[in-house]
Symmetry: D2
Subunit: 397 residues, 4 copies
């Protein structure tokens, strides 16, 4: 961190808004550098120019946090299910730290080293085994001197608590973010109880990311806040939702939607949806406001634009944007120029262009969680027989 | 062009499939480098790293053509409606050529210098004046030695013919692509007649781009092909459609949809829609198959994957993709692994997640075209009074 | 016919608007008196009070024509596919004539005896055999002295011509209405050519009924009118469409929609849709304007209300209606009273309340028509083996 | 009641299923005999043949209860808002009793005399004044010797309790049904508390009718049942929901939907939706299962068919129906015959045919209830000035 930069807690304690970045795995999947399925971040080492560019776009859009592109970057996940890699886990973690630092130093952003849930936990390994995995990633973050740490995308608060316990040993601020909705974690622990556990474990910032749309995520963080306050504790709050409309999700989130992960396009939020999200999050008392899967740089820019008055400035990328569509004043067609106004975009319900599509799906979740045989993770690729068995199971549902 | 590379006509004459790239202005608008409204490409000079990265992503996805990022890069457009720029038109055209060449030389791609329709034509300037504008861009393309030329995004075949007449003087192959649908150009000239005019003017490749969804564009190019063949002429055919579903467009295309340009998200095509498009275009005898607004690198990859058997190879980015979702075999959840099969994705009708949105809109077009006072383009920014007048007009509709 | 009543041709020759009735089989199916599948009208004899009441409701709504409830009332159809009946065909035809006459005489309505397409034609019987069937029904209509005759719901113009040839022998006016859309009859004869054939055979009134939504039907009748006029002939025109939105039908109409016949509810037209239909039909020069399947009395009333100025009066049932919702002025809730105005209802796009339903279906038609083995009609009920075979065929599509 | 008929409590005490009828005002509005807005039942006296026929259709469909067509038949409502009538309230109430009795005696049905909420309550009249209104109706029911009494369509439990207190004096069984959803009555009293109040007031049967779709109504009655059981009381339960999908309603129900009352068509339930409703209601322990607005005879028949095994017989109207579409075995087209099976209809999500309609609306309710000036009911018709003021209010929302 440059000596002049304020740390994450300094900012939050001062009541500042901290804008997060967007989801890297989904954005880079669309750009051709991440494989859906494994969702691993080897591109940090393989294609640094692509990762660097995405960091820059989010920085330019207003992000104050460059999360290291280390999602699912634990050794057990990297080796999982037949995913062959040229680089070691440590090399990828290091490369990701370097890229985040390089871009963070081009602006007013901090570097956050992140860990996420592990296949080992799902496969019922012990806390000692799982913690060793987090520790190995932490060693890289410490060596690379990230500014703070994020425990993110955990479906089970138990595992997240283990991660917090490991990460807090580094003496840096720790944020903890679960991928849960209002119904709580996969073991049925409520958002309020989850938050209390995480704060007690040592997290200074708690919240949720991924799995649900913005309004659902804000609602869940509100429940966390109520839980923390009811327990007489204190924390800061973060939210990094999907940029997808998910009115039809069950408790396991968008993974269970039939469209996941290759046909989610029609659910994507517009920039105007983002304005509403940013305001709602701010009004809920959340001050670390970012995004996850589906967020493109312009989504983050919309968050920064909505909160421009509170923050006192616009992001760099707003030079290529007109607030509420005002840039359309320069459009060729007069009827498009007539759309250069806030009330037009604020009230528009966009058509889907999809007369054969319904607005809601029936989630597909089989309801398994940690402990169920079908969830034991394996290193070798899924065999044809296993796949055939899965297809049969899906037919019976 | 590297000595070992075959030219565009050599490829097409040999029956090869040439895969185009996607639309730069919309993709870069989302990344924060292009302003919707003016839609000008000054980022080629201002932010070359962002433009270079997008070129690379399309190359990696399978593109054989790197179009210079020179859309709307005529001097009259760059000065239009209060758009202030640091770079001259020539500087931007040159920078765009350099970036396209740099990335083209990293793979099997050609550089195509492109011109597009001008505000001067809309403002009823003479053919001499309009041609001088194209000539100025052509001088840069000649100096930078692009591999071929594209006349693209023209709503009036008359102007496109003028552009072909200028560009063919350089002695390089010329492709001509209108942004029209089955109803023809803005003066009511049918697709077949448009194509005949373009071929007679000297274009070796004709087709359409932008404004309509893939199936509508393929249908329009078929009509062009029929016209050309009926006239006893010969040509190659190209198609570069939107990556948006537009069942509700009128003859002026997606510009008139109420969602243009800031709320088009729910209309985005999935990769599976792209498979169908690529096959349909191929079956129609079109061999230059690419994309326009809304295409992201993964859309081009899907085109390349659908045509992999015909071409004999997969694109580089397919290393991060499983054909028809097979990479999901490595997904954590068993119910998502059960989706790792073609029939699942091929038949899925994705939900929109938007219970308050209809599937179709009523286009907003006021029906003006060249010659109407409201379409005269001006250099100064639209005034408040002008905007107010436009809002009043839009209310009365 | 009462001595003071003008005949159908007198009315049409004088330029009067003649309002038809709605579809009896579908309305009575919902009331519990008709069986979907056979769609036969034995209720005329079995439950005369139900049929009489429906006649009265249409009369009260503004109908000038009481069609005898004799749809599919040919002997070959009545015996078809295991349908056991207490009454003979002649008894049902006679009962239907009596009911129509009884109610017609309560107001300003004419009685029209109707015949419809036969299983015999589909089973490739000769013109002689098919004509004998129509003759038997005509004998009843002659005995009961109906006011005019309607040849209606024919998919093949050839069979309709046969019917016209039989019916015109009675010396009464003959109207001929096909259930076709803009693509023409099941043998591919265009609407214009169909109309010419029917006029040449002796029909004084031609048009279409059933199978498509109002706007599609009006469009088809326009094509008929153009054909007749181009051939230098003269005719009057009629239209009796579905009260269902069918944007997704193929040439065989709503029969092929997956929702036919038991899940068509969400497609039902509102009364406001009917206003638009009535105006469109009137503007197209059609003067015999009625309805078919899906029309309830209030739909016919809306037609009569839209054309009240041209006709000079409102129908009786308008005493229980306020034009354009004005009766809501008497509603309890003030926010509902605020809806008592034309622009509210005219512009409303009603929500479907169905988040899991798409707006369009993929028609199911297998494309068979007269001559295909699968279309040969049989008297005995479909066997289990036949059904099983059909299910297998439907799976393969 | 015929001596051999069992009373309503005998039946329910014996665990029998009692099937109600459908909503008369909406069904008769479509047939041309009721005016939307006032919604008053003068047709019982004016057009007895129409009311009798509807009773017969419900009887034939399986109804065991003929509710007197006396909805909104209190003197204060009949005089309300400029509604001019030929018959007195007493005459209408009497005519309605006679019609219900006549048809009930044609089958196994009981006559239920019904009262509904009054404008006097909304206008803040005293309990004494309101009770006098109910008493006047009760006098007719007593004279006409109905079999039991229903207090139905009350938004405020307070007024319903007053009605129960009046009606129980007659010594006949009293059922009490509110038009509320899970959020409770318009004063915020929960369904459980409402039910307790009604039982304590003397109702032997409690439940809900109208305002919400079947699943929401069943859910609300479940909450009532829990409340009653928690209070240590006993009751029977009834449910008579809308035949409309209303996922988007707020606590005031379908009145607030923008489509109410003239554009609700796309929301109509299919017969297959009714099967699910009947099963759900039965499983919830509800034994008096009927319908309200939107129910046509075939909807009630579907309820009777779903519960045929439990009841031991099919309704009369099933002679014109095939269970689960089996009558389609007799359809002309083989692809329609292929639909003659339960799984086809059970799983079909019907398309709406409405590409310009969304699936959900935003309710319009202004949130007023008893006590608000805007809800004071008046006898004279709403004036133009009042309407203009309402339109202005609706614009501001």
């Amino acid at each position: 961190m440059a000596p002049t930069k304020k740390g994450i807690l300094e900012r939050l304690n001062a009541g500042e808004i901290v804008i997060g970045d967007g989801g890297f795995v989904v954005a880079l999947e669309k750009r051709g550098y991440v494989k859906a399925g494994p969702w691993t971040p080897e591109a940090a080492a393989e294609h640094p120019e692509a990762v660097r560019q995405l960091h820059r776009e989010f920085l330019r859009a207003g992000s104050n946090v460059m999360q290291t592109f280390t999602f699912y970057c634990s050794d057990d996940k990297l080796e999982n299910r037949g995913n062959k890699l040229t680089f070691t886990g440590t090399q990828i973690n290091e490369a990701a730290c370097d890229l985040a630092r390089e871009v963070a130093d081009e602006g007013d952003a901090l570097v956050a080293g992140g860990v996420s849930q592990t296949p080992s936990y799902l496969s019922c390994k012990s806390d000692k085994e799982v913690k060793a995995i987090f520790k190995k990633q932490l060693d890289v973050f410490t060596k690379k001197n990230v500014d703070f740490l994020i425990v993110e995308y955990f479906e089970h608060v138990e595992e997240a608590v283990w991660a917090v316990e490991v990460l807090k040993e580094a003496g840096k601020p720790v944020a903890a973010s679960l991928c849960i909705g209002p119904e709580g974690d996969m073991h049925g622990v409520s958002p309020g109880d989850c938050a209390v556990k995480l704060v007690k474990a040592g997290a200074q910032i708690v919240g949720v990311n991924c799995h649900f749309d913005p309004m659902t995520c804000v609602k869940t963080v509100k429940m966390m806040k109520e839980g923390v306050e009811k327990a007489g504790l204190k924390a800061h709050y973060m939210v990094q939702p999907l940029a997808l409309h998910t009115p039809d999700c069950d408790c396991r989130g968008f993974i269970d939607l039939p469209e996941f992960p290759y046909a989610l396009e029609p659910r994507a939020l517009t920039r105007w949806d983002m304005h509403k999200y940013a305001r709602e999050a701010y009004n809920a008392g959340i001050r670390f406001i970012g995004g996850c899967c589906g967020f493109e740089p312009y989504h983050i820019r919309a968050v920064a634009e909505e909160l421009a008055q509170e923050r006192g400035f616009l992001p760099a990328a707003s030079e290529k944007h007109g607030l509420w569509g005002s840039a359309l004043e320069m459009h060729t067609k007069p009827w498009v120029r007539a759309r250069a106004r806030r009330d037009y975009w604020e009230n528009l319900k966009p058509a889907t262009g999809r007369p054969h599509s319904a607005s809601m799906s029936t989630p597909d979740g089989w309801g398994y969680t940690r402990g169920h045989a079908e969830l034991m993770q394996q290193k070798e690729a899924t065999s044809k027989d296993q796949l055939k068995q899965l297809f049969e199971m899906s037919k019976k549902k």
